[in-house]
């Protein structure tokens, strides 16, 4: 456990360093845009302009702003006010968008694991069969076709062609299925390939032969002796998979018009809402760090030979 504590401290240190770099770079970029965010809009009376500048802390010196903003984040978790969304703080936007994106990502990952692992197991056990060949061909397709192409085609087919699902919106189970499927598809394909390769490797090991020789049923051999060993590459892939799902949710939220973090982030980028965009980048950095750490820890738990570094 001391090992774990040391690991967590080191990871946190790295995360803070990364956050600080991202923050500093974003801040410098933000501040180096000439003029202020309101200079391009229609002229407002001087008093109102003063008020606006005061609200966004733009009247302080750059160094002061840099420190104030960082202090606000560290002490109060306050990411400031959105520049474009009226009367919204960045935190409010995050609070609204996060549940949507999180459930989409979780559904996507669950789908990917739930489909990818059985597919990989089946094609490894029945190697060379029609099922194996067709599933692996589907996996290659799933990896090569970008998820926004897939999503566009899925909308065409299932929403407008067959009318099985609603086109957009959020809230009901029916509305989450299609985006989550499209989001999880490439990850599922990758997991299926990893599972198959892992299974094939473990199947040739001595302990599997021993288990068979003891007279265990096929099912017991595969589920108890082969599958756990074959899961290691899949677990270590879950870190990159999370990153993939988060990036994928940017496009899928746009295609399906979901009110998640991704669509807010894209809108922030399109409308030059610097504070919102910066808050989003920082949030995504934290999420990715946390997810990667969890994956590392679970990897060490599953495989005792792995030491946390």
């Amino acid at each position: 456990m001391r090992n774990l504590a040391g690991y967590l401290i080191r990871r946190t240190g790295w995360m803070l360093l990364t956050l600080w770099i991202v923050y500093t770079v974003s801040f410098i970029l933000m501040r180096s845009v000439p003029g202020n965010p309101f200079s391009s809009e229609r002229t407002v009376p001087a008093a109102i302009e003063r008020q606006l500048r005061a609200r966004y802390n733009l009247d302080a010196t750059p160094t002061r702003q840099y420190i104030d903003y960082a202090l606000g984040i560290v002490t109060r978790g306050d990411l400031g006010w959105s520049l474009r969304l009226e009367d919204y703080s960045v935190n409010q936007v995050l609070a609204e968008g996060f549940p949507v994106s999180a459930s989409l990502a979780i559904f996507g990952l669950v789908f990917a694991v739930g489909l990818g692992i059985p597919a990989g197991v089946i094609s490894a056990v029945y190697r060379g069969s029609l099922a194996d060949v067709s599933m692996m061909a589907a996996a290659v397709l799933g990896i090569a076709v970008p998820n926004f192409v897939l999503a566009s085609l899925a909308i065409l087919l299932f929403v407008f062609g067959l009318a099985w699902f609603p086109a957009a919106g959020w809230g009901t189970f029916n509305q989450i299925v299609l985006p989550a499927l499209c989001l999880g598809a490439p990850v599922a394909a990758y997991i299926a390939r990893l599972t198959r390769a892992g299974m094939l490797e473990v199947l040739t090991r001595e302990h599997v032969r021993t288990a068979r020789a003891k007279g265990l049923s096929d099912q017991a051999v595969i589920l108890k002796h082969v599958l756990p060993g074959a899961m290691l590459p899949v677990v270590s892939y879950l870190g990159p998979a999370t990153a993939g799902v988060l990036t994928g949710s940017l496009v899928l939220e746009k295609i399906f018009a979901l009110p998640g973090m991704g669509s807010h982030f894209i809108n922030a980028a399109l409308q030059r809402d610097y504070t919102l965009a910066m808050g989003m980048v920082l949030t995504y950095t934290v999420i990715l760090f946390v997810m990667n750490s969890i994956v590392d820890i679970s990897y060490a738990v599953i495989d005792p030979r792995v030491k946390l570094q």
């Binding site: 770079v25 970029l29 845009v33 076709v145 566009s152 407008f160 990153a243 982030f265 399109l270």
Partner: protein, 432 residues
């Protein structure tokens, strides 16, 4: 054994070979020698490259992908020569969201263009005649101010009114010549809208072709940028070693942990600002150039790690020591002796980077953050397509064709990348 010299008794001595026989033996010997030489000549040491090429040729999927990609690149390069319709000319009145059709189109026939005889060829003739008239006027006058004024008129009219500038977007000098050749070859003929038209009445087939140019160029240029940065960085870190290496690799570690896609989107927020755009334009930097560099600057990290690892294992080899002994400078050793030796790994990684970069470009363009109109790219076409989707009518072609082009290209690149990796990997050598 007796010490006296042994002499063979004369009667048991082998018969002196007759001249004819000895000649025969010599001939036979010569023949054997020739045969052996011939055999040895046929045995060639295979170089890494010919070996890899042979193995690559055996992989049918990789070869099909390669042929497909070569065809795609050729078509993209020759796009201005092909009798395609205009990729930017909108026809909001009659040609919006037409399904794929087989009726050929006459170039310049749209009424709004107001071309002479509603044909590109006739309009070109008319325009050139007018310009020639102006030229004559210019040559006739002796007043230099007047000449200058007419020159400006010609330049201005060419920029605005030349038929090419109405049908195509910012043609470079090469594409311009190619367009002229195309008009000379095909006249007013244009391929029918096999892929249908988009919501502004533009021909989707020609947009997919012109988009291929942008998508491929982004893929190649951004990959080259990442190649140059990654290889130099990795090779220098690996060769210099010590604390320099430690610091350089720590920087890479830190950059690795930054979620780059999100940072890039943030960066694009900044690049899209009007004042920044104006600043860049004043210095002659186009937005798409920055785009190449931004993407290339992300993908160099893995490359630098891989190259560093290879260089570390090579730096104590004898040929490096030899180069150092004869006084080669470190820079020369790195780029003349080390880099060529890591080429195999670099090529493998390169073939895997190109699809990743193209995908990223499509991803950004799809979000509206990448290539900006009037430039066309596949990601952007897909974005247009998704926006045009509606429940009123099934406009499947606006999504299917750009999507298929992108997916097929990525598919082929991935297959080729896998094939090249296996072909260049000596461990794969004796497997099926």
């Amino acid at each position: 054994m007796s010490t006296e010299p042994r002499t063979l008794p004369a009667d048991t001595a082998p018969p002196e070979p007759s001249p004819a026989l000895s000649e025969l033996a010599a001939q036979e010997q010569q023949l054997t020698l020739d045969r052996l030489l011939e055999e040895s000549r046929q045995i060639r040491g295979t170089s890494l490259w010919s070996d890899a090429w042979r193995r690559l040729k055996r992989r049918r999927t990789a070869m099909i992908s390669m042929v497909g990609l070569v065809v795609l690149v050729l078509l993209a390069v020759l796009t201005p020569l092909l009798p395609l319709q205009s990729p930017i000319d909108k026809d909001l009145k009659y040609r919006r969201l037409l399904p794929p059709e087989l009726t050929p189109v006459t170039m310049g026939s749209r009424e709004g263009l107001d071309f002479a005889e509603q044909s590109l060829v006739a309009e070109l003739k008319r325009f050139n005649a007018e310009i020639a008239e102006l030229q004559q006027q210019r040559n006739a006058t002796t007043d230099s101010a007047e000449r200058k004024r007419i020159d400006e008129i010609i330049a201005g009219r060419t920029k605005v009114e030349h038929p090419f500038n109405q049908l195509w977007n910012q043609l470079g000098p090469v594409s311009w010549t190619m367009c002229q050749m195309r008009v000379a070859m095909f006249g007013d003929y244009a391929i029918p809208s096999l892929f249908g038209t988009d919501k502004l009445g533009r021909d989707l087939l020609s947009r997919v072709f012109w988009g291929a140019r942008v998508s491929l160029i982004v893929g190649v240029v951004a990959t080259l940028v990442s190649l140059v940065i990654g290889v130099s960085y990795g090779a220098i870190a690996g060769y210099v070693g010590g604390w320099v290496d430690a610091v350089m690799m720590r920087i890479v570690d830190i950059l690795y942990s930054i979620p780059f896609i999100f940072v890039v989107i943030f960066l694009i927020t900044f690049l899209g600002e009007d004042s920044v755009k104006a600043w860049l334009q004043a210095r002659g930097i186009e937005q798409i150039t920055i785009f190449y560099f931004v993407i290339g600057a992300i993908y160099w990290l893995t490359m630098s790690r891989v190259v560093r690892g290879q260089v570390l294992s090579l730096r104590h080899e004898q040929f490096i020591e030899a180069a150092r002994t004869i006084g080669a400078s470190p820079l020369r050793i790195v780029f003349r002796h080390l880099v060529p030796n890591v080429l195999g790994v670099v090529i493998v990684y390169l073939t895997l980077t190109i699809p990743a970069v193209m995908l990223f470009e499509a991803f950004l363009s799809f979000l509206g953050l990448g290539v900006a109109p009037p430039d066309v790219s596949w990601g952007q076409l897909l974005n247009d397509g998704v926006e045009a989707l509606s429940s009123v009518k099934l406009f499947w072609w606006v999504v299917v064709f750009p999507g298929a082009a992108l997916a097929a290209t990525l598919f082929a690149l991935n297959f080729l990348g896998d094939g090249v990796r296996d072909a260049l990997d000596p461990k794969m050598k004796n497997r099926d």
